[in-house]
Amino acid sequence: MILALQSVVDATHLQPLDRNLLIALAPVMILTVTILVLLLVDYFGRRQPGPEGGISLGNASGISLAGTVLALLGTLGTWGWVNTNPDGPSVGLFPSLINAASNGFAPSFVVDHFFLFVCLLVCVVVVITILNFIPFLKRKERYHAELFPLLLLSATGMMLIAGSRDLITTFMSLELLSLPLYVMCGLNDKSRLNKESSLKYFLMGAFASGFFVFGASLIYGVAGHLNYLAIKLAASDAALSSSGVNVDPVLLIGIGLVGVGIAFKLGMVPFHAWVPDVYQGAPTPVTAFMATGVKVAMFASATRIVVECLPGLQPELWRDALVLFACLSMLVGNLFALHQMSAKRLLAFSAIAHTGYLALGMVSGSPASGSAVLFYLAGYTLASLGAFLLITWFAPDGQDDVFLDQMHELWQKTPKAAICLTILLLSMGGFPLTAGFFGKFVVFREAWQAGLSGVVIFALLNSALSFYYYLRFVVAMYMTPAVPGEASLNPQAMPGSYVFSTVLTVGLTIVLGVLPQLLLGALDLTRLGG
């Protein structure tokens, strides 16, 4: 793969620096080219004017799938290439001057294994989302030609934010991943729920960006730069100059506001109010994409900020707040999920709870916390994607959601799908022999090592609580007899793309639950640099 990439790049006769750039950013580049191809095919291949005349669903999804798979292979190639890098396993790009006196440069974007692992996850998410979209669009929604470019654009943002080491780059990536999603939420312009979801998401996203930018500007005022390294130095300097107690409050407020912006995007309590409405209102494949892709990207970025900006600060200044928000997220998410009837809404609240568990993974701020968070994200992503996919398939015509009381006796109708959904939900709950168990294990170990044993116990009790609502699916599917005359689901034969995605997600969930070491080797490389 490296060789193939190398030969392609050789053919372009670029200068060494640019060549490295192309290889280093291969996943992003490939996705970007795919978007351009899609748009060009759409433009030149128009059969007729108007929204219907563009690129056909088959072509668009085919090109996007091919592009994403190429990006996935490109990621693997870059993974190997980074290993061969003479200056250590991370390649800094776009350096900027952060200290004029000592002529010190710091990269504002870094290609390391952490970034590449996130790219890998995003590629998997995109592949399954496309596979989810094809039957969904055929069955339910009007297809718009701009859907797939938007999807890939958002994915590009998700990748970029994981490698960015500068608040400006982070902000650009954040907007790149968010804006297409606002549009995708409103996929069906006839559906009021879609419109509501889109508008809410947009307004909340705008707020989040506002907080983020305002925080960044305050940080700039103190640190004189937006590079993570510069922020870290500014925070440490301030701590040193005043005997480690007082940090410039403006810097703290700035970091806090950036944190609030990210917390909005993550859906952490108390900035979570939009999550259930947006998740429930959006078309289910978009919900799946949001629940997984955005979470992966934002957590990757948040972990990088915590590990690379905050070590200079005293832990008490930020850890207590983070832990408090994490605990609130678990508690509120789990409590509200208990009695939801809508599957999508239930999973939305469970996503809030998962945000809480995940946040515990990064509170230690240690280099290894990146690996812990990524492991959890991998397990959560697989389970979430699979569960939303099955819900998309279960949903009857004219309804883009499934209610728990419609699922009665579903086990008799589609035993395999019911068992798959059960496994995915158990993984979300953190049951042994699924990826979710080891995800919880590593994340809670990180928190325990940071001395937060009480918080870990709280989180574990919350997981016990979460089993109540995950098992409500099981109760509905297996144990409750259907009442005659009651509206119940009658899923059609499962399309091939759903079979593939379900087998992939469930299979990987079990494989990672039995043999987590398959991922541990790779994850050992994703330790974040200080």
Partner: protein, 539 residues
């Protein structure tokens, strides 16, 4: 022998996966049943082959230890000792019998039912064999899902309530235990021990390589205690049990009472006490009022009396047996936590005894439920005349549960009381009241069901036990006699292992030196008389 251990563990799982391949049609039903039955019978027969080459003095043996997750030091480590070998045998015995009784009682979605039972068998065997904390935890949790479905799909009218309660109770306990496991792992890795291996960790705690400060020991033990005490169940954590038992299908009840509860008491022996040996003695409260050992013993005694009293007023015979389980498990906990050699021996034997007699009681209750579809004691009466064979079996099993000499229940309970008397005479005295109460409620129930006039016309034409039922119940009835008469057959294996346990458990006991070394001699002579001599005498 390692291979044999592996086969005994995973044969049921393989058979269960094999069942998945059989098409879900009516005509394949006999194949499904035969596969389930014969694979579990084969497992039992294979597990019997463990006995001849077992060396009673060797401690853990037949060990199979391969790395599972090397990065974290998790190993797939299974082995048996003199305690777990009997629990494994009990488990492999009860499953074929439970499957056999299900042929009559389960008529719905049978394939899934037998698959779940076989999965459960593998999980329970795994719990008794696991020598690695994570492996133990995985098996421990894995027992939950099959049981959840067994109660939830094939259970009685209030099954959803019962099964959800069962799962949530157990889940809270085991997740707290997971917290303690994570904490222990963090401490062990800090001490350079990147391992979850139970014997390694126990040895490290014993010889001071791994220092666990008192506070950590106390809280970690408490977390393990909650997980296992919920499983046992110890008063006041028992409330899930009567519901789960009452709603479970007969096979579910047999397995639940027979082996699943033993996972709790076994967990104390294997992990909770050896890993945190000081915890039971740590004084706490404002002026060091109490330690966990005496609190747990007190709770056991309360459970004995409470379980017996509540059992006495039950109108549903299955619920009565369920509450009697609470009382009987209280005896086991009392014996275990007296940390006295005789009592611990008795407790371990009683774990097997309780599995046999309570499992058999649930089976018998299931038989009559199949015929009459009621379990209310008032609906019966005079059954002795209608069903003489059933009556005989019920009598034997009931007397074994009461603790009649020459039957197995007596040996266990007697040794427990004898041993714990030396630790705490007052509690033992109260516990002895529980033995009397057990006789009262069981005999009272027996009289109302089997003697007197036949009050209900429907009972006149009840058929006696058929061949299938006889095959299922006879092994258990025979075992109550065999163990009652020749308990030393089992003690030969149990005692060396339990001595090791008692040694670890009392290593932090300040009174340990005062207590003289005690020997136990059990005469397995012709008369079946049991004599216990204590040369050292009571303290």
């Amino acid at each position: 022998m390692q291979t044999l251990l592996l086969i005994v563990t995973f044969l049921p799982l393989l058979a269960g996966l094999g069942l998945l391949l059989i098409p879900n049609r009516g005509e394949s039903l006999p194949t499904v049943r035969a596969t389930a039955l014969w694979s579990s019978v084969a497992t039992f027969v294979l597990s019997l082959f463990l006995l001849p080459s077992f060396q009673s003095e060797a401690g853990l043996q037949f060990a199979l230890n391969v790395p599972w997750i090397p990065q974290w030091g998790v190993n797939f480590h299974i082995a048996v000792d003199g305690i777990s070998i009997w629990l494994v045998l009990l488990n492999t015995l009860l499953f074929p019998l439970a499957i056999l009784t299900s042929f009559q009682s389960v008529r719905l979605r049978e394939k899934m039912y037998y698959i779940l039972l076989l999965l459960l068998e593998t999980a329970v065997t795994g719990v008794f064999l696991a020598q690695d904390i994570i492996l133990f935890y995985v098996f421990f949790e894995a027992t939950l899902i099959p049981m959840y479905f067994l109660i939830g799909i094939w259970g009685g009218a209030k099954r959803l309530y019962a099964t959800t309660k069962f799962v949530l109770y157990t889940m809270v306990g085991s997740l707290l235990m997971l917290g303690a496991i994570i904490g222990l792992y963090v401490k062990a890795s800090a001490a350079g021990l990147n391992t979850f291996d139970i014997p390694t960790l126990v040895a490290a705690v014993g010889n001071g390589t791994l220092v666990l400060e008192d506070q950590f020991q106390f809280w970690a033990f408490l977390a393990f205690f909650l997980a296992f005490a919920i499983k046992v169940p110890l008063f006041p954590l028992h409330t899930w049990l009567p519901d789960a038992h009452t709603e479970a299908p007969t096979a579910g009840s047999i397995i639940l009472a027979g082996v699943l509860l033993k996972m709790g008491t076994y967990g104390f022996i294997r992990m909770a006490i050896p890993l945190f040996p000081k915890a039971p003695y740590i004084q706490f409260g404002p002026v060091g009022l109490a330690d966990l050992q005496s609190i747990i013993m007190a709770l056991s005694v309360v459970g004995i009396i409470y379980g017996a009293l509540v059992a006495a007023v039950q109108v549903d015979v299955k619920r009565l047996v369920a509450y009697s389980s609470v009382a009987h498990m209280g005896f086991i906990m009392l014996g275990l936590f007296s940390f006295n050699q005789i009592a611990v021996d008795g407790a371990i034997l009683q774990m097997v005894n309780h599995g046999i007699s309570t499992g058999a009681l649930f089976m018998l209750v299931g038989f009559i439920y199949e015929r009459r579809h009621t379990r209310l004691i008032d609906n019966f009466g005079g059954l002795a005349a209608v069903m003489p064979v059933y009556y005989t079996y019920f009598l034997i099993i009931m007397l074994s549960s009461v603790g009649l000499p020459a039957l197995n229940g007596f040996v266990g309970e007697f040794l427990i009381l004898l041993g714990s008397f030396q630790e705490d005479w007052l509690m033992t005295l109260i516990a002895t009241l529980g033995v009397i109460l057990a006789a009262v409620y069981l005999l009272f129930m027996f009289r109302r069901m089997f003697f007197g006039e036949i009050t209900s016309a429907e009972n006149r034409n009840l058929k006696d036990l058929n061949m299938q039922e006889l095959v299922a119940i006879t092994p258990l009835a025979v075992l109550t006699l065999v163990i009652g008469l020749f308990p030393s057959l089992m003690f030969r294996f149990i005692t060396p292992s339990s001595e090791a346990f008692v040694e670890i458990a009392t290593s932090h006991d300040e009174d340990a030196f005062e207590t003289a070394m005690q020997d136990i001699h059990i005469d397995d002579g012709q008369g079946g008389l049991l004599s216990v001599s204590i040369p050292g005498g009571a303290k």
